[in-house]
Amino acid sequence: MMMWMGWGLCALLLFALYGQYLTGQADIFVSIANPRPLDEERMVVTLKGWGFASAARLPFVTPEADHGLCDLRVFATRRQMLVAIATLGYLRPVTVAWRAHAGVQPLGVA
């Protein structure tokens, strides 16, 4: 009986882990209304030590953001989720993607 309960618990934990693997790849997307986007830019932010520190491969700048951002996505790829699971969450790479706004110019005269 105890053995079956142990197997059941293992299965439950495996399912929980698989659920984390899937949900970690979810795409969190925030956008302004009426976007006028430029090209998408991306960077990877790696949370270390279960979130106590973070490091990005790119600096937190975007070359054409003088009109602000249109939208922002946060997601993990399959590979990033596997890294997080394999390191027991010590490393948690996350992809941040954004698109800068092209700007709304007033109507001029020809």
């Binding site: 009426n34 006028r36 986007p37 109507l107």
Partner: protein, 503 residues
Amino acid sequence: MPIVQLGREGRWTNYHGTGTCEAATRFALRSGDAERGRDELAAAAREVREWLAAAQAAGRHVRPLGAGWSPSNINIASHCWLLHTRRFNRCFRIAGDDVRPGVDAASLMLVEAGALVDEVSDKLEAQGRSLWTSGAGNGQTFAGAAATGTHGSMVAHGGIQDHIRAIQIVTPAGAQWVEPTAGVMSDEFIAATGSQAVRDDALFAAAQLPVGALGVVTALVVSSVPRFLVRPIQNLRRVDRRALNWLSAGEFRRFSAAYALDRDPDFVQMIVNPYKPFKRPAMLRFLYREPWRDDCPRATPGELGAGYDALSLLGRLLDDYPWARGWLLQFAMKLGYAGGPDVQDPPVYGSWGEGLDTHRPLADLFNASVTIDRADLAYVFEQICGVYARHGGSTVVTLRFMERAQGLLAPARFAHNAVIDFDGPRSQRTADAYARVVERLDAEGIAFTRHWAKSCNLDAARVEIDYGEDFRRWCAARDRLIPDPAHRRLFASDVLDGLGLTC
């Protein structure tokens, strides 16, 4: 300085993630703050010309890019210089003395090449004007949508390029202002843009749809109509086979009366599940044009059913569970279609521009189409759906209608056109199924064309057959606009060479 370099040489991916330029050096053309549009264009033309000369000296091909929207790889070129125009996006009001006598200046607007269809719609609406047709999305640049012959969707109109009345094109030899022979803009205005006036119907018909091969388009003069309201009706209905005959014959009123309002519709769309298209309910959408009323309660884009292009979800499921494709597609249609407003719901209204949407691709997109003579629709539509479903096509099939579009290379080249789109999640099986549809149409001897901006697997031989004399006229116009073969090669890419447009 209107042109700036963006970062170092690297990879660039298009909007829908369907194509990648490797080792591309990216530049951006930006609007300035000149008081008059003509001064902006003169400065931009000068800069673009210098940039082209620098690319030529560096031994690089060039590729102008708008929003990078085309899911086909028509805008993909590796080891080249890319010129992003998105931030060259100002629009300008045109005055009576800017145009030639007899031309209605109030209906025209000067548009820089990077302005989105959405921006053009907004700026026109601010002047009480509107586009009269456009594609399903509004996230393309107007110049890019026209350059690829984006098909319209109003049953009595042609393509988006029909709005163009004049075009500024820059090549290494200089800037040219291309108009119809009758002329549109005044000589003084054209001179002030730093361009040479070229008034020639043949050249203009080629330049209305340049497919990125005639130089860098820097500006357009866009025509418009007084703004109007549209009332949408959309519903899920099982469509009778006989109704296809009505559509084939252009009896849109009869079709509308059967499934929506007993009125002449201005837009008719039918999205079917290719697995049993007449047994499972189809997603129908109608738009009815009404005069503009300021006091009209306005609906949100969502309530108007904005973004009526087909679903781009469920890709993996459809690929992994082929036995459930028909059911999954129907489920997706039910979930993905904005609910109503149906006939019995309170009417909602919006402008033409508000009914469009800048969608964001949620899955790898497959996007292809065939444009056929509307008269052939009743005969081939069920065959198309059958072949597509039998070979595992995993997208819905969308049907829209339009008249012949302007431009020598316009895919909508029949007097009355039925455009059949296959839009949805990308998979090899779906691409193969589309190829079988093309084979079937050929086997049946049905004339058809394919969209320049979609993944339609065109090649030079096929382009020449599809467009015939118009293709030869387009090539002759290209050689007149860019007489120097070395300059023509500057705009070459593997894709354009493969289509026979730059070689």
